[in-house]
């Protein structure tokens, strides 16, 4: 008799550990609702790219159209945001298509230490230099044997990976992301047909909302989670084209090798950047109140958090 109910265990296995925020910096303060992702069927398909050949795109045109419609429905973005949506779509397609193998790193861990977005500091004079590094982020890091096992199971499903049956009798199989997407998108289309006699992507905005409300919430959460990753991860993963996602939230992204504290060897001390100070508020900071809808939400969160609290 398993100690953990099968369905709960399947769900738990799907949770990225890091969706529970780490290192005490925010700790439980933001884990207000546990995120979970689904366990659905598994068709066991394994497509392994061969080195030196272009990878086959996993999601086909129809699936991509459905995916795009889902993203636009669950994350309506104001303004002209085609590039952001393109980035999210590209990020998910790449994650599902670019599967790592023994001689191929896939698109799991971008390289390091630096992108080419920021210059080296000139430590002799305490300012930015005009020398930029090459972009190491473009060169993905090869996986170790264990990392390969884990990521292939996560993408393709544990039943396609040798050596992966060690807890199946207790926790059940790991359902691969590929199958979660394939079956999740197919289910949405079927729901569209059942409800409005049309595929999901051909529905109007209000109709899509109706269908999404009836869809598997785990799949919706999976897509939103990946959309967030795409919007705000470094652009080398395929989303966030040109750092556009970061611009929307006023965030710099990666700052190395310049950083914010520039050492000046001549005075043996630090200089702050006047445009982006470390120890003071930004020069243009307005201290303006939150908009009403944000303030309403923050009041709600504060109330739900329980005491002690203020206001």
């Amino acid at each position: 008799m398993p100690a953990v109910p099968r369905k709960a265990a399947e769900k738990a296995r799907g949770i990225s550990r890091r969706q529970v925020l780490r290192w005490g910096i925010l700790g439980g303060s933001l884990a207000l609702i546990p995120l979970s992702v689904p366990g659905c069927g598994d068709d066991g398909e394994a497509v392994v790219p061969e080195r030196g050949r272009e990878l086959a795109a996993f999601l086909g045109d129809d699936e991509l159209a459905t995916l795009r419609a889902v993203i636009e429905t669950v994350l309506p973005i104001d303004g002209n945001t085609t590039r952001l949506y393109d980035g999210i779509e590209r990020y998910i397609q790449r994650l599902l298509s670019d599967v790592p193998s023994m001689d191929h790193p896939g698109a799991i861990f971008a390289g390091g230490p630096f992108s080419n977005r920021n210059p080296f500091p000139d430590v002799e004079h305490g300012k930015a230099s005009d020398v930029f590094p090459r972009n190491d982020f473009e060169h993905f890091v090869p996986l170790t044997r264990l990392q390969l096992l884990g990521w292939r199971a996560r993408l393709l499903g544990s039943e396609t990976v040798d050596e992966f049956d060690f807890n199946a009798s207790v926790l059940g199989p790991v359902v691969g992301l590929r199958n979660q997407y394939r079956s999740g998108l197919q289910a949405l289309d079927e729901l569209g047909h059942a409800t409005f006699a049309r595929s999901f992507s051909s529905l109007g905005a209000d109709e899509r909302q109706v269908v999404i409300q009836r869809a598997n919430p785990d799949f919706v959460a999976l897509v939103i989670g990946h959309a967030i990753e795409a919007l705000f991860s470094v652009p080398e993963y395929g989303g966030n084209p040109g750092g556009l996602g970061w611009q929307f939230i006023g965030y710099d992204g990666d700052s190395q090798p310049l950083g914010y504290a520039i050492f000046d060897r001549s005075s043996n001390s630090y200089r702050e950047r006047s445009d982006k100070p470390t120890s003071t508020a930004d020069p243009n900071e307005t201290f303006s109140p939150f908009p009403a809808e944000i303030a309403n939400l923050l009041r709600l969160l504060t109330r739900l958090a329980g005491s002690p609290r203020f206001p």
Binding site: A3, R94, Y237, G259, P308
Partner: protein
């Protein structure tokens, strides 16, 4: 037809001349075998090789991202870490994979343990947990090492807590603290924390720039009569021992340092050991068992290499440095050293209570070293750190922190939006909430690293059901807060929130407790002491019942104190290794390069 999507075909070169090995690859016979290349294992390796002239083999479970770490060129090559939130904090670049190495958690023996994707795991990688930490390196108080006596003198009791005095005093450890700070490169300001115990010398480096969020919270702290001080941290604020000053890139807690400004064990003690020619490091090497003769002597270790092949290594002396959970687990898997029945017992984290404040202004937590200031006023000791303060529960240092991660902030927005939807807040859309960036730009936290008392029932043992990818039982963590931790949360919770009000926050609340706790301070399980009936290791961290086995990680801690533990792990490991090298005068190893 869209796609196919382009794939990266570029490859990073293999990390060393011999795959999977750093240092002197020709060594075959070893005086000592160390399991784990983190803070404790690396410190011990440095003493044994640099000062003691011993030959050392280090076996590290995780991968190596410090390419060329054993290259003697003065400028160390930069590692593969980067300002990449997805890679480091979401996809677990330096973490064990919960699909391959799961853990289970329960709050008491009465409930079945359940799989959880993250039960206090520490990074498994060359350099260990400190690679990913933001290197907060305070010392413990003098009273910490005689805590049971100090509590008894004041008539303070916490139901069920098994406090004990350490078999080593602060004064005995002080020179090793100094050495640990010298080797790691710690910045700080002596005399700035009124609760700190006396130190023989200044910090190796002065504090770097303050973070804005720290200035804001410090102003609130001062208004309440507290004494904020620059947090001691192993990040260079000067050129130091061949490494550059930190540039406050913002990706500190949760990230490896891309330019070696962090005094991570890898680029400090471990590298120095590797450069002696007497040290060999095999990484991606997972130790499965300690072999012993049944007469109290370890004869070798079995491990699995990166190709999945079973391997064997041997030496004269063996040092466990795999973390409190993994070192204890290895003893249990090997049926070794547990004559007291205490292996795995007295597991401690820190009782982390977190006050959350939301501020009108942007706090730009993405600039700086994650935490630059804190207070010890809520530690529960008297100024000078010699006595406990019986007017309050034992507490801990409070870190002034924030959130640097854009993805983390947006994930929080998604969760908050789910709550808001149920309440139908008009005009609020998910995108509007994400764009407001409340949980990245406008949030500050007061994090107390509260004393976590040792309780007999809080422990790690072997899970009866789940296995890891190597076919071995996984760690089962049994943990719940006890009398002290409940009293401390009651007492300090309001104060952690009040500090935000005093600092000008618009909203403030106390974060709910994590279950399992999210602390990365993992301590106890192989407690040190003089009595073999009530401890596992002796005062020099050797097992009472195994003549050639030592523990040099957080497992030997008797109490948890209320300060970040890594510097104390290093100081203890230096001392244990110094005693191995020079039993009659261990302090002669100090200060030597």
């Amino acid at each position: 037809m869209k796609g196919p999507v382009p794939a990266s075909s570029a490859r990073t070169p293999l990390p060393s001349r011999v795959p999977g090995v750093l240092g002197n690859t020709s060594l075959e016979r070893f005086d000592a075998v160390i399991i784990g290349a983190g803070a404790g294992g690396s410190a011990a390796a440095r003493v044994l090789t640099v000062v003691g002239g011993k030959t050392v083999l280090i076996l590290e479970h995780g991968p190596n991202y410090f390419l060329g770490l054993d290259d003697p060129a003065p400028d160390q090559p930069r590692p593969l870490f980067s300002n990449d939130e997805l890679k480091l904090t979401i996809r677990g670049f330096v973490e064990q994979d919960p699909l391959l190495e799961p853990r289970t958690f329960r709050e008491s023996d009465a409930t079945p343990a359940q799989f959880h994707p993250d039960v206090n795991t520490l990074p498994k990688t060359v350099g260990g947990g400190a690679v990913e930490a933001d290197m907060k390196y305070p010392r413990f108080n003098r009273v910490d090492f005689r805590l049971a006596s100090a509590l008894e003198e004041k008539g303070v009791r916490y139901e069920g807590a098994a406090f004990a005095d350490w078999p080593v005093s602060y004064d005995e450890l002080e020179p090793y603290y100094t050495e640990a700070e010298r080797l790691s490169g710690v910045q700080g300001l002596a005399g700035s924390d009124p609760y700190a115990s006396p130190r023989a010398s200044a910090y190796p480096m002065p504090p770097g720039l303050s973070m804005y969020v720290a200035e804001v919270l410090s102003s609130g702290a001062r208004a309440l009569g507290y004494h904020p001080f620059p947090y001691p941290g192993a990040q260079n604020s000067r050129f130091y021992r061949g490494r550059p000053p930190c540039n406050d890139c913002g990706f500190c807690s949760g990230y490896g340092c891309p330019n070696n400004s962090k005094g991570s064990p890898a680029v400090t003690t471990l590298r120095e050991a590797l450069l002696t020619g007497r040290c060999q490091l095999r990484y991606n090497a997972h130790v499965t068992r300690l072999l012993h003769d049944g007469q109290g002597s370890v004869t070798g270790v079995e491990y699995v290499d990166d190709r999945g092949q079973a391997q064997h290594a041997t030496g004269d002396v063996f040092l466990l440095a795999a973390s409190a959970v993994e070192s204890a687990r290895l003893c249990l898997l090997s049926d070794l050293g547990n004559e007291s029945g205490l292996v795995g017992r007295f597991l401690m984290f820190h009782a982390q209570n977190i006050g959350v404040g939301i501020y009108r202004q942007r706090l730009h937590g993405e600039r700086g070293r994650s935490v630059t200031h804190g207070i010890s006023d809520l530690r529960g000791v008297c100024p000078g750190g010699d006595e406990i303060d019986p007017s309050m529960p034992l507490g801990g240092i409070v870190e002034f922190g924030t959130n640097s991660g854009a993805i983390a902030g947006a994930q929080a927005a998604v969760q908050a939006y789910e709550l808001a939807r149920l309440q139908n807040i008009p005009e609020l859309t998910l995108w509007r909430l994400i764009r407001a960036n409340v949980f990245q730009a406008h949030i500050a936290v007061t994090i107390q690293q509260g004393e976590d008392a040792p309780y007999f029932d809080n422990r790690v043992d072997l899970d009866p059901q789940l296995k890891d990818v190597f076919g071995q039982p996984v760690p089962r963590i049994t943990y719940r807060p006890g009398a002290l931790e409940r009293a401390a949360r009651q007492f300090y919770g309001p104060r952690l929130v009040e500090l935000h009000r005093a600092a000008g926050a618009e909203y403030g609340f106390l974060a709910p407790l994590d279950r399992p706790p999210q602390s990365r301070h993992v301590l106890g399980t192989l407690r040190m002491g003089d009595d073999p009936r009530s401890s596992v290791c002796n005062r020099w961290q050797r097992f009472h019942s195994v003549e050639n086995l030592y523990a040099v990680d957080g497992s030997v801690f008797v109490t948890s104190s209320g300060y970040n533990p890594t510097l104390t792990i290093i100081a203890l490991a230096l001392r244990a290794a110094a005693h191995l090298v020079s039993p009659s005068s261990p302090e002669r190893v100090l200060g030597r390069d």
